[in-house]
Symmetry: C2
Subunit: 431 residues, 2 copies
C-alpha cells in the first residue's frame, strides 16, 4: 500500500491557490481520513519567477508540463488552468501517462467529457470533475451516487454565479447592467472577458455536463438552446416584478419519450418559486426524479474557496481509490441513444412584450393571431409607452409548444400594427 | 469477479416494499451501472402467509432471520425493519456473518452507530445508512464525500417530516394540532405512536448522526437538548407571525473551540430565513463549512419512495464495492475527543412570553431582571390577555447565553407579579 499521495497541480490562479491552501491547512484532517499524507510536489505556472507569497519551495514551480507528467512519483494531476485547448491537452497527456485527473474545467468537460472519460477508462485512471458545475455544491456526486438508483426526469437551476449576481443587483439595487457587471468583475465573480457568462455559454456548458450525467445520454453543446442577458430589454425586469415574477438566467433540462430538451435562457420565475429568491453569486439546482420526487441543492456557485472545496473533495475520492487500487473502475458510457426533441415537442408558458401602433382594433387583431395558432392567453395588459409613441401589449400565455411560440412571434413581427416584438421569455411557476 | 449480487431484505413495510419496487423497475438501469444483475433472494417478514400482491415467489418470504443470514449466496443485507433491539441484533449478526449492511434505521445508528461501524470495519464489511437522515436527500454522502475536505462548523435544519407537516398545517390552514396530526397519520407521515416525532426524539437521533459525522466526534443522544411540539402554547404561532417569524421544529449543531452544542427544539425563524418556507413533509439542512461557506440541501423527508431511493443508492454503492472487492475499507473512527459545551457557552437570541398580573410597575420590574442578568432587549410588547385576566409581556432579546436565559426564566417564575412564563424559544435570523 502507498504511504503517501503526491499531486501535480496545473495552474495557480484563484482555484489553484485555494486548493493548495486547503490541502495545507487541513493536512491533519486529510491524514486522518486517508491514513497517508497528501502533498503537492509540482505546480505548473506560466511565469515561474512571479512572487506568489506561498510556502512552497521555489523548485516546486515549473513552466514545463513535462516536469509534472513525467515525474513518476506524481500520482494525481489537478487541472485548474481553465480554457480549452491547453487544458484538454494536459488532461489527455496525464491520463495517457496513467495519472488520475481532477479538473474544475467545464469548458473541456462539456465539449470533450465523453471522450476524456473514455480515455480515463482505457488508462484505468480516475477523471473527476465535481468543481466544473455548481462551485461548492456537490452536484455531480449527488447525480452519480446519491440518486444513482433513480431516473432523473428534469433539472432546473441557476448554474452561473456571475449572471445571477448581475440580475440580483439590477433587481434589488436598481443598478444598470453595466454597473452590476463592473461590480461582479471587481469582486472576482466575472472574468476579464465576461461574454461566456453573460451570453449563457458558461451555463450551457454546465447544463451539458449535468444533462449527460442525469439522462445517461450524450448531450452536445449544439443541443442546448442558448439565450443570454442581452435578450433582456430595458423595463423587462420591472414588468416582470409588476406581474409577480423575477427574471433569472436559468438552465433547464427535461427528458421524456420524445427525447431531451436542454436550454439556458432568461426565464420569468413566479416570485413564490424557490429559484426566484436565490440571489447574488449563489447557485441552486432542482432535480426531479421518478422515485425521489423533488430535491434541491444550493450553495456558492463561484469563488476561490468554494470551488477549491469541490476540487479537494475530488482529490480525496481519487486518493481513496488510489490507496485501494481501484482507480478508473467506473465506466461512464451513456445508456441511451442521443435523441433531441423538436420545437413542436417542447412546451412552456410564454411572456411576449410587443410594441404596437396606437390604432383601433390592434388588440383584437393580435389576440386573433394567438387563437389562429391554437394558443390561449392567461394574462393580457395594454399600456401606453413612456415616450408617448404607441403602446405596449403584454401577453402571458398558457402552455404551448416552442414552435407555436416562434410562429406567433414571426407573424406578430410581420403584422403592420406591430412595430416590433420587444422581448419574450419562458414563464415558470404555477398557472 | 462476481456475476451477480444477491440481497436479503429484512422488513417489507413502506420502505422495504419501495426498495423492492425500485430494484425491480430499474433492473436494466442497475445492470448498466453495475454490469451485473441485482436480485432479492430472501425477504424477512413477521407473517409469511400475509397477502402482499408482489411478484416474489412465495419461497422468497421467511420469518426466520437465520434463513437470510446463513444463506452463503446472499452478499448484502438491507435492514428496513425499524425499531431498535431486533434491528440492531440483525445488523450485528449480518456483519459478523461477513455480509455488508444497508440500513435506514436512525434509532439504531444514533444509539449504536459508532459500535456498529467499528464492527463493520472489523468484519471488512460496508455499513451504509444514508436513508437514516433526510429521507431522499443524500446528506450523509455529501458530508462524507462532497464536503470531505472541508471543516464543518454548523448545521441547521428541519430533519423531521412529520412535525414539519403538522406545523405547516397549523400555520397555513389554521388546523388544530390534533387535526394536523390526524392528517399526517392518515397520509402515512406519522407513525401509529407519534411520540418520537412530536417530542423531538426522532430529530434528535438524526442530529446525533449528522453531528457525529460532521464534527468527526462521538455525539450521544444525551448530549442533545431536546424540546418537542408540546412546548408550543396556544397563540404562540400567531404571535410569531405577528413579529414576522415562523415556528419550526429545528435541529442545530455547532462546533467551536469550546466544544459542540446540539439541540432540537421549536425555533422562531425570521420569515426571510429560507428554512421558514420549507413546508409540509419536506426537510432541508443548511451546512456551514470553513471553506465552502453556506450550502443547503432540500428534499422529501418522508415517504416510501424517497427513502427507498436513498436505500437503493446505498445498495448500489455497496454493490460497487463488493464487485471491486473493496468493501469495508472506510474507517469511521472519530478524529476528535467528545467535548460538549456548557450552557454558559451556548449563545442565541430568545423569545419570552410571560403572563403577568396587571399591576403598576410590572414592566419596569421585569426589564430590570434582564438588565441584572446582563441581557439586553431587542423588542418589547405588552398586550392585555384575551380572557381579560392580566396581561402578557413579550420580550425578544439580543444574543445571550443559554445560562442567562435559564436564570432569567427562573427568576421571572419566582417574581410575584408573574403568573407564569408561558413559553420561550430560540430566535434565528438577522437581528
Amino acid at each position: 500500500m502507498k504511504n503517501q499521495i503526491t499531486i501535480g497541480l496545473l495552474g495557480f490562479g484563484v482555484v489553484g491557490s485555494g486548493v493548495a491552501k486547503i490541502l495545507q491547512n487541513h493536512q491533519e484532517d486529510l491524514r486522518h481520513k486517508l491514513g497517508v499524507p497528501v502533498t503537492i510536489k509540482k505546480v505548473l505556472v506560466k511565469h515561474i519567477d512571479k512572487q506568489r507569497g506561498t510556502e512552497f519551495a521555489s523548485d516546486v514551480f515549473t513552466n514545463n508540463l513535462n516536469d509534472v507528467i513525467n515525474d513518476p512519483s506524481i500520482d494525481l494531476i489537478v487541472e485548474v488552468i481553465g480554457g480549452t485547448s491547453e487544458a484538454k491537452d494536459a488532461i489527455e497527456r496525464s491520463l495517457r501517462a496513467g495519472k488520475g485527473v481532477v479538473t474544475a474545467n467545464k469548458d473541456v468537460m462539456a465539449e470533450y467529457g465523453m471522450e476524456l472519460l473514455k480515455l480515463a477508462d482505457e488508462n484505468k485512471c480516475d477523471l473527476f470533475y465535481e468543481a466544473s458545475v455548481g462551485g461548492g455544491i456537490p452536484l455531480i456526486r449527488t447525480l452519480e451516487d446519491g440518486l444513482a438508483s433513480d431516473r432523473i426526469r428534469a433539472l432546473t437551476g441557476i448554474v452561473n454565479g456571475t449572471t445571477n449576481f448581475i440580475l440580483t443587483k439590477m433587481k434589488h439595487e436598481n443598478m444598470s447592467y453595466e454597473d452590476a457587471l463592473a461590480e461582479a468583475t471587481e469582486l472576482g465573480f466575472a472574468e476579464a472577458d465576461p461574454s461566456a457568462d453573460v451570453d449563457g455559454i458558461d451555463a450551457a456548458r454546465k447544463m451539458v455536463i449535468l444533462a449527460s450525467l442525469s439522462f445517461s445520454m450524450e448531450v452536445r453543446l449544439e443541443d442546448v438552446l442558448v439565450r443570454g442577458l442581452k435578450e433582456i430589454q430595458d423595463g423587462d425586469l420591472e414588468l416582470a416584478a409588476w406581474f409577480g415574477y423575477t427574471v433569472k438566467l436559468a438552465g433547464s433540462a427535461k427528458k421524456d419519450v420524445d427525447g431531451i430538451e436542454v436550454a439556458v435562457e432568461p426565464v420569468f420565475f413566479l416570485n413564490s418559486h424557490p429559484l426566484a429568491s436565490v440571489n447574488n453569486e449563489y447557485n441552486a439546482v432542482y432535480i426531479y426524479g421518478d422515485t425521489v420526487g423533488e430535491t434541491m441543492f444550493y450553495g456558492p456557485g463561484a469563488g476561490s474557496l468554494p470551488t477549491a472545496t469541490s476540487v479537494t473533495g475530488d482529490i480525496i475520492a481519487a486518493c481513496r481509490n488510489l490507496l485501494l487500487g481501484v482507480n478508473g473502475k467506473r465506466l461512464h458510457a451513456p445508456q441511451f441513444e442521443r435523441k433531441v426533441k423538436s420545437d413542436s415537442n417542447r412546451f412552456s408558458r410564454y411572456f411576449h412584450r410587443i410594441f404596437v401602433k396606437d390604432e383601433v382594433g390592434v388588440l383584437s387583431k393580435l389576440t386573433a393571431i394567438y387563437s389562429e395558432h391554437g394558443a390561449s392567453l392567461a394574462s393580457v395588459v395594454q399600456h401606453p409607452r413612456k415616450d408617448g409613441e404607441g403602446a405596449e401589449l403584454i401577453f402571458i400565455t398558457h402552455q404551448m409548444s416552442r414552435q407555436q411560440h416562434l410562429n406567433i412571434v414571426n407573424e406578430l413581427n410581420e403584422t403592420s400594427e406591430v412595430v416590433s416584438v420587444l422581448s419574450h421569455y419562458r414563464v415558470e411557476g404555477e398557472e
